[in-house]
């Protein structure tokens, strides 16, 4: 095994080392902790990009931890899908870190940087693992870190939302364990590839049990992805979390979507008897309602951060409409939109913070206040990001939605999908226009406590970079969609993964 093969585990090892080191040195030397955090994220990005390039040849690489043969030991699987998610997570973490350091929100508590690294450890692990129980463990790692990050900065609003967030997720984890137990009892393995083979051999008398297990597992992922009716925890949690943390959480719902894309074709594919594609009948209606609920939330939100949280819900709904097609081209389109919507959601949280920092007691409420510092540039930035989020040209949201609509055009339910995507886009446009005109256009009476704060312009950096990335995503739409299509092909053709993991042939 050459050194290059070990890059596969770097996205897990780097944050696992960086987190305790940052924790140790931060009490005495804050700058050293920040340096460790940045270095770790940059290393992760480098490793992720290397894996992305390596995976572009279409070979599915596996990494057996400790040299234990797959199905006995834990195996990491690096394919195109995993590489895309790794690059996205590393990029987003750098943006969140930049914003946190520039706005000094990382100083609100002691443990921002170690928790961020643990969060990334969980995220990267979840994207890489080929073992269902290991997926559960990495889910827990990222959740535990997210509890800490969510409460970063404290305050009663965060504690209130935090209690609900923790309770909802503990229940979700318990359901995950029940599903795992059922699947293990039925198949006798936890390796996803092997499980996919063994579900085909399950007798007729146990088919109902397999369906129960599949639906439970899908419900857990739907909870993470915040699909209606399991979305209620999200808006409140994200709206009160510290802005850089909320931006990082933009990828958390995508972990649920990722898990669905990974697990359903692999385990509940065509070979699963009566449990084949078991979530299909429920996923599409849920996705459609999620898109409607999310963008309606954008319309009625009272604060910009709340609006950003609802935009995340809505974009997950749009994303799931494509995923629910379970075809190579729909999932390929979904992957492009997934990358875009994560960046766009994060940018929206950054902007909400930029506005809040400049408006004193008006904060980021959607209300008219006195003219604030650098109002025009912030307004332009908000306009551009909002264009990206709702999916108007020229930014990547437009291409993403176009791809999704094109890919579902063959499905019998295309009318529903098109109607909902177009209608929610319109609702989103009106919602953002309303927010923009209230915050940036109208002028309210000048009050003493709303004295416009002068803050350094550098806090717009993260939002501007996110915006540039969205621009780059639309310029490079050709290669990115080609990569996404190829990734979707790998995922849908689960036999290849089985060969790569179990070493058959």
């Amino acid at each position: 095994m050459s050194l290059a093969d070990h890059i596969a585990i770097a996205p897990v090892v780097v944050p696992a080392l960086a987190a305790p080191f940052a924790l140790l040195v931060m009490r005495r030397r804050r700058w050293l902790g920040v340096t460790i955090s940045f270095t770790s994220c940059l290393l992760m990005l480098a490793a992720a990009v290397t894996l992305l390039v390596m995976a572009s040849d279409g070979v599915i690489r596996t990494y057996e931890i400790g040299g234990w043969q797959a199905s006995f030991g834990i195996v990491l699987v690096v394919d195109r899908l995993a590489a895309i998610m790794l690059v996205l997570a590393a990029t987003l973490s750098l943006l969140a870190l930049l914003h946190a350091v520039v706005t000094e929100t990382d100083r609100d508590g002691w443990h921002f940087h170690p928790l961020l690294q643990f969060q990334l450890l969980g995220l990267n692990g979840a994207f890489l693992t080929g073992d269902l129980f290991n997926l559960f463990v990495f889910f827990e790692v990222l959740l535990i870190a997210s509890y800490g990050l969510m409460l970063h900065g404290q305050g009663s609003a965060r504690l209130k939302a935090g209690v609900q967030y923790v309770i909802v997720n503990i229940v979700g984890s318990s359901l995950f364990l029940i599903a795992l137990g059922l699947l293990y009892a039925l198949t006798g393995t936890l390796n996803m590839a092997q499980m996919g083979l063994r579900v085909a051999a399950i007798g007729a008398e146990d088919q109902w049990l397999l369906r129960v297990a599949g639906l439970l597992l899908v419900s857990v992922f739907a909870l993470k992805a915040a699909l209606v009716p399991l979305h209620l925890w999200l808006p409140r949690t994200y709206a009160v979390a510290t802005p850089p943390v909320a931006a990082l959480f933009a990828i958390m719902t995508k972990v649920g979507v990722y898990s669905l894309i990974r697990v359903v074709p692999q385990i509940f594919g065509d070979g699963a008897g009566s449990a084949a594609w078991v979530p299909s009948p429920f996923l599409l209606p849920a996705a459609i309602i999620t898109a409607i609920v999310g963008f309606s939330g954008v319309f009625v939100a009272r604060r910009l951060s709340e609006q950003a949280a609802y935009a995340i819900v809505g974009s997950t709904g749009t994303l799931m409409i494509a995923v629910a097609g379970w075809q190579t081209d729909t999932i390929g389109a979904a992957l492009y939109y997934l990358v875009h919507s994560t960046l766009a959601g994060a940018a929206l949280f950054f902007i909400a913070d930029v506005v809040a920092r400049r408006r004193g007691s008006f904060s980021d409420t959607i209300s008219s206040g006195p003219v604030f510092h650098e109002r025009q540039s912030v307004a332009l930035l908000f306009l551009a990001v909002a264009i990206g989020v709702v999916g108007l040209p020229p930014l990547s949201g437009f291409i993403g939605k176009l791809l999704i609509m094109g890919s579902v055009a063959d499905a019998p339910w295309w009318g529903w999908a098109w109607a909902v995507i177009l209608a929610t886009t319109l609702i989103g446009v009106i919602g953002f226009a309303r927010a923009g005109s209230a915050v940036f256009w109208k002028e309210g009476p000048v009050t003493d406590d709303a004295a416009p704060a002068r803050v350094a312009r550098s806090d717009m950096a993260a939002a501007v970079i996110a915006l540039c990335l969205m621009g780059a995503l639309s310029i490079a739409a050709g290669p990115v969609t080609a990569y996404g299509e190829a990734a979707a092909m790998q995922v849908m053709n689960s036999a290849n993964t089985v060969d790569a993991v179990l070493g058959v042939g």
Binding site: V137, S156, L159, K160, V163, Q164, L177, G181, L190
Partner: protein, 119 residues
């Protein structure tokens, strides 16, 4: 004579029922208790997923031909550690939330504060 399977299954069922009932209550202490019961049930369930067998060795031995499944024990151990940590976190968090907001309702609403509180 009831079978082992019936005993374990009904124990899990009772725990889950109690857990769900308590988790749906409005006050945080009851919810934490409910989560604990629920996680006990899940752990027992996970343990049973390797089939219930009596008097079998889990590890290789020369004299034995039939084994108990050793994997669920490892899984349960992991799950116990995680749920224990989570429960501890939930306790601390609800306590902090109660001290900070003065309400022990899950929705943070103070109106139900004195309903069934004798003190």
């Amino acid at each position: 004579m009831i079978s082992l399977e019936f005993l374990v299954a009904s124990a899990i069922g009772v725990l889950v029922a109690g857990g769900i009932y308590l988790t749906l209550r409005g006050r945080t202490f009851q919810v934490v208790l409910g989560l604990t019961l629920f996680s006990y049930a899940v752990n027992t369930f996970l343990f049973a997923s390797g089939r219930l067998v009596v008097d079998r060795a889990p590890i290789w031995s020369k004299t034995v031909t039939e084994y108990a499944d050793p994997l669920p024990q490892a899984l349960v151990l992991t799950a116990i550690v995680i749920t224990f940590g989570m429960t501890a976190l939930a306790v601390i968090l609800t306590l902090r939330s109660f001290l900070e907001t003065g309400s022990d309702q899950v929705d943070g609403d103070p109106k139900g504060k004195h309903e069934d509180d004798p003190s």
